[in-house]
Subunit: 303 residues, 4 copies
């Protein structure tokens, strides 16, 4: 089995690296937080004293970082330090699993290509539960060759592996999907609440729409109205799940992408405004289906 350098051992990165170890990879880790490295070391990881130190000599580098600026400055040399692409061995495969702006992904891919290196942007979905269980979804951008090479490592960490296209396409596809998801959530919420405001039972209405032309993922898996489905955040005071703050981040990335390509996304833009206001009202740490509460609490006011 090959050697993987894993950089960024947070809530997502930690369990992902662990799954690589379990799958038999030799894993060399780095994180700015020593305790995060220590946890992995106890599971069999080698540790490094810098990101470049971890990457030097690895067959595959996997990174999991907060934002585009971190990814750019880690991979590409700047005023203060060398970049990963300057220190890795020829033939090393670079895989960035962060969710970042497409422009940064393309920037790093281009610099990697200039050095003869393959780079894949591979943002994930599935949350910390998926990271621990090894069932993450990866949406990848990069060449066919690189995508092929990455299979073993990605399969060790995830379930569904998609190839969306060339460099940056993984980020674009993920952000298109999440923008669409945010609209599904808002629109399903307002439709269910309008039904409730007219005296309908949200369970019955959900059942009808689920098998009709209003059918969508939120009705199937993640109904935002409390007590319609069991074991979803809406039935648990919107705890757990996917935080509003993370949806706000993804919607910000979607609008950044829309500006870059001169695209018009009226629904996605409106969803961002509604989610930003929702976050400002103190809901940032609650599940994103809590947007339902913006529409509820209606008294039925008849003319």
């Amino acid at each position: 089995m090959s050697t993987v350098a894993f950089i960024g051992l947070g809530n997502m990165g930690g369990p992902m690296a662990l799954n690589l170890i379990k799958a038999g990879f030799t894993v060399k880790v780095f994180d700015l937080v020593p305790a995060a490295m220590q946890t992995l070391a106890e599971q069999g990881a080698l540790t490094a004293t810098s990101a470049c130190g971890a990457a030097a000599g690895a067959d595959i580098v996997v990174t999991m970082l907060p934002a585009g600026k971190h990814v750019r400055s880690l991979y590409v040399t700047d005023d203060t330090s060398k970049g990963l692409i300057d220190v890795v061995a020829p033939g090393t495969l670079l895989i960035d699993c962060s969710t970042i702006d497409a422009d940064s992904a393309r920037f790093v891919a281009q610099h990697a290509a200039n050095k003869g290196l393959e780079f894949i942007d591979a943002p994930v979905s599935g949350g910390t539960a998926g990271a621990a269980a090894g069932t993450l979804t990866f949406i990848c951008g990069g060449s066919d060759t690189a995508f092929e090479q990455a299979q073993d490592a990605l399969n060790a960490m995830g379930g569904n592996i998609f190839h969306a296209g060339g460099p940056g396409a993984g980020q674009v596809a993920k952000i298109c999907n999440n923008m669409l998801l945010s609209v599904l959530m808002v629109a399903t919420s307002e439709s269910l609440q309008m039904g409730i405001d007219h005296g309908l039972d949200p369970k019955v209405l959900s059942e009808i729409m689920k098998v009709s032309s209003g059918g969508n993922w939120t009705l199937d898996k993640y109904n935002p109205c409390p007590d319609v489905m069991e074991s979803v955040p809406s039935s648990n005071d919107y705890q757990g799940g996917f935080m509003v703050d993370l949806m706000v981040k993804d919607l910000g990335l979607s609008q950044e992408a829309a500006l870059l390509s001169n695209s018009s996304t009226p629904m996605g833009a409106l969803a961002r405004s509604l989610y930003v206001n929702h976050a400002k009202q103190g809901n940032g740490k609650r599940d994103f289906s809590s947007i339902f509460e913006q529409f509820a609490q209606s008294e039925q006011i008849k003319k």
Copy 2:
């Protein structure tokens, strides 16, 4: 088998009445257009010279009319004429299959109840193809008893029969569903186009989102981007299907319902504005997935 009076023999009503005949019901029809009655008569229908004439003595009355005002004035007496509820025999079941405002449905149901009659609002979806094939979906509002009684007749005309709740609930549920559908269509269109604007293949992006959290009915059955799916309107220059003008009508009903219940539907309201403008640009007779064209034709403008 029982006797059904069928009033309103347009593109939908005609084939629906025919399916009742085929199922063995005695059907007595009325329409303001004599030729429409003649066609049914040739298939075995009895004809009447007025709506009341058709309804008198029937076990079940089925109506299929354009708008709430027609339904109100047909069922309930006004200055100029008697209403159906004044002339039908005790025990006659009244079924209105028109798509109208919930208020009108409740108005007629209340007047029927005052006379001891059961009334069901049972708007359909499935279009003229579904009407001909007898595979329409009915979404019903009314009492359990009435819903039970209506089964045989509705099964003769349709496939899925839903019971959404009490009087008016059929109209409300249908309009909630169609409002949600309109948002799915717009949001899927803008997401696909943003992907295209960034160089992604809409087929690949559709495949990814379909099985991810962006999954919805339009990606499954009715992709709005040309040449992604076969045999859908988008791959046939947006001919056939469900006309923009009809979506505009349904979105108008949804906003009427939202005003009545003091509900807030930001996504549905925005979809109505976009569809009204789309219709005004000459697209009223095209399929509603043609809203995709509002987002396409983008040149990719990079900063």
Copy 3:
């Protein structure tokens, strides 16, 4: 001076009737609340035991009622009672000052015309302060003749008297104006807050935009950001002024009007959604400039 029947003596109607008395008109009043009539009687009004009783024999009838259904049933005969237009003397001028849907205004105007009577829809703006001071704005719909005849009475109650067009035009013009106002308020709020989020002083930004192409009534008279202007609701915890609930009512009328004429009003529709949600969060009785708070409380989050 002529005799005026005044029906509806609420917070607005009471002081309006008083100003007619002060101007020398003989005023005969009716209200369902006896105490409201008593107050006016002490100022010299005659009282009646019914609306029709007040109207019979008057030269001018003025009505000030909550909603379209009240205006319809007061003026036009229905199952239970005669309408005003059945009891007034030939030549009586009918003036409705309620803010109602245009359709109801046209309905009454048409029935009045059928009886040879002139009817003016004359909704007001200016609030209770304007009603007391006699400085209300009237926006009138009706014939030139009727508008001419109404001058003396309207001048006794208001400052600006506009003639918007034929029957219903007063309601339409008022609702167009108030829909536009709601958008000005939301857009000014979000623009000011975006400036604040970037470290600008809202006073300075307001001064600049006021004299630039962003200039609008809210920047001139009613700045929504606290402590930019003195003596406006935003500098008094959004007390007083024009209540959110009343703006929600007017935005509902605007959307009803838009549905009736198949008009597209994306900004007005969005403003309604935002104001409905704002009201549901407990702000219904606060001034409508409090929508500013939906955008405030932002921490400045930099990438």
Copy 4:
């Protein structure tokens, strides 16, 4: 009089530089297009063979460039060349009149400050007509000292000179204003058209709203409905004025700013979507008040 280096002699920069010459400044110009320099040389300007050549030795540097990336790379050194701030004399005042993102303005201001230089961001409004007439509006960001120093040069080119705050504040204030303007234009258009759809005369409705709470700059100076005002683009087939493409650019900058500060701008975001779609339909070179056409051409469809 002092010496001004002027870099960027396009449709705006050319006439601005000429006004500096007329006011008695010694002006040294540079542009990538030799013909643009030649025109100014004929009016008395000195010419340079590079931007740095023009700036070296000047008391004031004025730049007028298309976008943030041009401003960054001109002022600040990068891999390929020195920046202006490396070559100008100590005490030189730097004034950038481009309309760019606030972040780029702050970036350059910071680098200038690091070298002990004062930098002002001073975006303009008023168009090519204002540039020629010397009546431009400048909205400035920078220190009080720098603002004071810039007065003579700015007065030679413009009429209104505002000081919005520290570095970047000029860009932010301009973009807040133009975002607000775009909403005023759309909302005024939809309100006027709704009035027209109900049979009102747009001239009458405009007169009423202009002096009421719907009053705003577009009703005062720039009515979007054809033939309401003379000498505005709407009465000249939307020729001239401020192009849709430029409004799309400014709305893009506004949304970039909103993302940066985590601000919510639902109206501005919606206006951007509507303007992008309008541009895609072939209206990019027409005046921005042509958005009115998105709402017009309505047939009055009554229920």
